[in-house]
């Protein structure tokens, strides 16, 4: 009993899926870095696991992040994921209460209404019946949105929507068919047996008016089962692999695992967790401003999954990190782009024999490293020198006569070994100086010093350092009332989480105005060294758009704290673009000017910078 041939496709599908998943999970977990496994062991029976469960519920089922991006889009995902989840859970409960025992054939709940055509008497079961109908209705509503959205993305607030591979399309269609078919089969059955509830029964009765529902039912059940089976089998070969994988990802991530400088089993899991929702397409400035909608992470990960990754797809990315912030699955996308750039062919570490070794360095507590780019905007280092002087700080200008590159530009173009040579050279100098504080004006250097140099001294970007000096009353800054907007450099903001310090500093002596896309969502200036193959037109488009955006709040001054950003924005900005250090110096000088002619000033008069 409780068997009909049509259950075979579904059952087979489930089995195949189960096997394939098992195989993959084992492979990935065995590819984890040694350290990772210990971490898992250490964290398995901690609160972190509960956090993970909560996150799975919130993200994988409710899709909280997607809701944030767009409520309708969120509802769509939720209705499908959570709805389906409920169908399974509630369906299982239903059979439990019906049969009184928990163990049943696993396909039994799925085709429950086929196997149990006689209408329920108990109010509990009737309630379940109604609940199941309701959930199905919710899911179907999600499907409707999904289908509409496919043809009119803006419905779900998306400008561009992912272009899918044929495999994905097949899976998608299977998925779309499942629930309508479920509706039809259950309705047909209800049509002759009356075991349906408010939706299925009414649809069933309607069908019965002009259709031989008794004969049709079995056909629909077959199609339902086939579409289920088809979908199950397609999962491992389509983007829907993200459903099982993401759950695994969430656990591992909560246990403290991330993708570092090596590609590991975890990286593989991350990549497989991409649902290709396409949210990263809109957030990417290469698309929104550079008019290039082929290079986004969703395509990068897709091509990677099908091993057809082209160099330009790896190279043509600003590494600005905006997609990281937007990704609902929370994949460290830029890190993956970076790891794919890592290629032996580029590594010629032998080239740096000329670098200074063990040169005597003056002993100082504070050293300043301007960075290559700052040398092309000398106003920044000049300002810093003045500030050191004013604050009476004895320091060493380590790269006064030009820098040895910090190594990050090499690293972000995939040359980790070569980069290490530069790191070693600079590191030796820094340590030799015996400094306790290293100040740099370049966010690129800053990130590199922080992450790759393993210095046990304080590393500060000048925006942090200037704030400190001010708070220590070593710099007397006076309100000028000028309206300023601050541009977050990628490497400093999203790259190193320095959002507050520059703002605190600026707001102390200027009128800092906010702008929609700032901090985590700040735009990239377009100058990024991260993108290797961007062409001049695309670059200019991004620079122009960002400059335009910052001007849109019509500030008197655009402030930033990166020589590269300064250059890129200034190119296309009507408003003067100043480094934070310049503004400090201007303020100090205005002050000293005013002190010279103090008697002419009334008390409380603000000083113009």
């Amino acid at each position: 009993m409780h068997f009909n041939l049509f259950v075979v496709p579904f059952t087979a599908g489930m089995l195949i899926l189960a096997i394939l998943l098992a195989v993959r999970y084992i492979k990935w977990l065995s590819d984890l870095e040694a350290g990772n496994r210990n971490e898992i062991g250490g964290n398995l029976f901690t609160i972190k696991t509960l956090y993970a469960i909560r996150e799975v519920f919130m993200e994988s089922l409710l899709h909280r992040k997607v809701f944030k991006t767009n409520p309708l889009l969120g509802y769509m995902h939720m209705s499908l994921a959570f709805g389906w989840f409920l169908l399974i859970v509630v369906g299982k409960l239903e059979t439990f209460f019906y049969t009184g025992k928990f163990a049943n054939k696993f396909y039994y709940p799925v085709f429950f209404r086929f196997f149990e055509p006689t209408p329920h008497k108990s109010s509990l079961l009737l309630a379940f019946n109604a609940l199941m109908d309701f959930v199905l209705l919710v899911v179907l509503s999600g499907i409707v949105i999904a289908i509409l959205r496919r043809f009119r993305p803006r419905i779900a607030g998306m400008k561009k929507i992912t272009k899918h591979s044929p495999g994905d399309r097949l899976a998608l269609i299977a998925l779309w068919l499942i629930f309508p078919l479920r509706l039809l089969s259950e309705s047909a059955t209800a049509g002759y047996s009356g075991n349906g509830s408010f939706m299925t029964q009414s649809v069933g009765n309607f069908m019965a008016l002009f259709l031989p529902v008794h004969q049709l039912a079995i056909v629909f059940w077959w199609m339902y089962s086939i579409s289920l089976g088809l979908f199950m089998v397609s999962i491992p070969f389509s983007r829907y692999m993200h459903i099982p994988t993401e759950i695994l990802l969430i656990f591992l991530r909560n246990w403290g695992i991330k993708t570092k400088d090596h590609f590991s089993g975890f990286s593989e899991i991350e990549i497989q967790s991409c649902s290709r929702c396409g949210i990263c397409i809109d957030t990417c400035q290469m698309n929104s401003q550079g008019k290039n909608s082929t290079t986004q992470m969703v395509y990068f990960l897709r091509d990677y999954r099908y091993n057809q990754l082209r160099p330009d797809l790896t190279d043509n990315c600003l590494l600005c990190g905006r997609c990281n912030e937007a990704c609902p699955v929370g994949i460290d996308l830029t890190q993956h782009r970076l790891l794919q750039r890592k290629k032996k062919e580029f590594e010629i570490p032998s080239g740096f024999k000329y670098l200074p070794v063990n040169q005597p360095v003056e002993k100082k507590d504070v050293i300043y490293f301007a960075g290559c780019m700052s040398h092309l905007s000398p106003v920044i280092s000049r300002s810093m020198e003045k500030i050191f002087k004013t604050a009476k700080i004895s320091y060493l200008f380590l790269d006064k006569n030009g820098s040895v590159c910090c190594g990050r530009p090499l690293k972000i173009s995939g040359q980790f070994e070569a980069a290490q040579k530069l790191v070693a050279s600079n590191r030796q100098q820094i340590i030799a100086s015996g400094a306790k504080i290293l100040v740099t004006s370049c966010p690129i250097c800053y990130k590199s010093f922080k992450e790759d140099y393993h210095l046990n001294i304080r590393v500060l970007h000048h925006s942090e350092y200037l704030l400190e000096l001010m708070l220590q009353k070593k710099l007397a800054l006076h309100p000028s009332g000028k309206k300023v907007v601050y541009h977050d450099p990628c490497e400093l903001g999203r790259g190193s989480d320095i959002y507050i310090q520059p703002r605190m500093l600026l707001s102390h002596f200027m009128e800092l105005v906010t702008i929609d896309q700032e901090k985590e969502n700040a735009l990239c200036c377009g100058g990024s060294l991260g993108n290797l193959s961007i062409n001049p037109e695309e670059r200019n488009a991004i620079q122009m758009a960002t400059a335009g955006y910052l001007n849109s709040v019509d500030p008197e001054i655009i402030a930033t704290s990166c020589p590269m950003c300064k250059k890129s924005i200034a190119q296309f900005s009507a408003t003067p673009v100043k480094d934070i250090a310049e503004l400090v110096v201007a303020n100090l000088e205005a002050l000293s000017e005013s002190q010279k002619s103090l008697k002419h000033h009334k008390v409380g008069q603000t000083i113009e910078i």
Binding site: E345, F346, G351, M373, C405, S533
Partner: protein
């Protein structure tokens, strides 16, 4: 072999007909801006590596285009990829990608 006390020299002349342009072609294909150079030399002037060693990106690019690629790998390895050249180039050449593609080319066209 008897010692002549002198030997036949290979000239310094660029023998265009018998030179190897595979690298140049590869780069031009993958980074067309490689062609746009007018040899102004601002890249070399600003180059972080050129400050410390005998390295001349302008000349390097030129020799590649003339098919003179002997010792290219050793030369290109001196680049720190810091990107200053890209900021100063008046013709908007994507210099860092040129360097990157020189390295790719060295691998795909040659094992130099």
């Amino acid at each position: 072999m008897k010692d002549w006390g002198y030997s036949i020299l290979k000239g310094r002349q660029i023998d265009f007909e018998n030179n190897d342009f595979s690298i140049a072609e590869y780069i031009t294909k993958h980074e067309p801006s490689f062609r746009w150079c007018i040899g102004c030399g601002s890249c070399t002037a600003t180059c972080s590596a050129a400050r410390l060693t005998d390295f001349n990106p302008r000349k390097l690019k030129l020799l590649i285009q003339r098919g003179e690629i002997k010792g290219l790998a050793d030369e290109i390895a001196k680049c720190m990829l810091c990107g200053k050249c890209q900021l100063v180039c008046p013709r908007g050449i994507n210099t860092r990608n040129v360097i990157q593609n020189i390295k790719r080319a060295l691998n795909t066209c040659h094992a130099l």
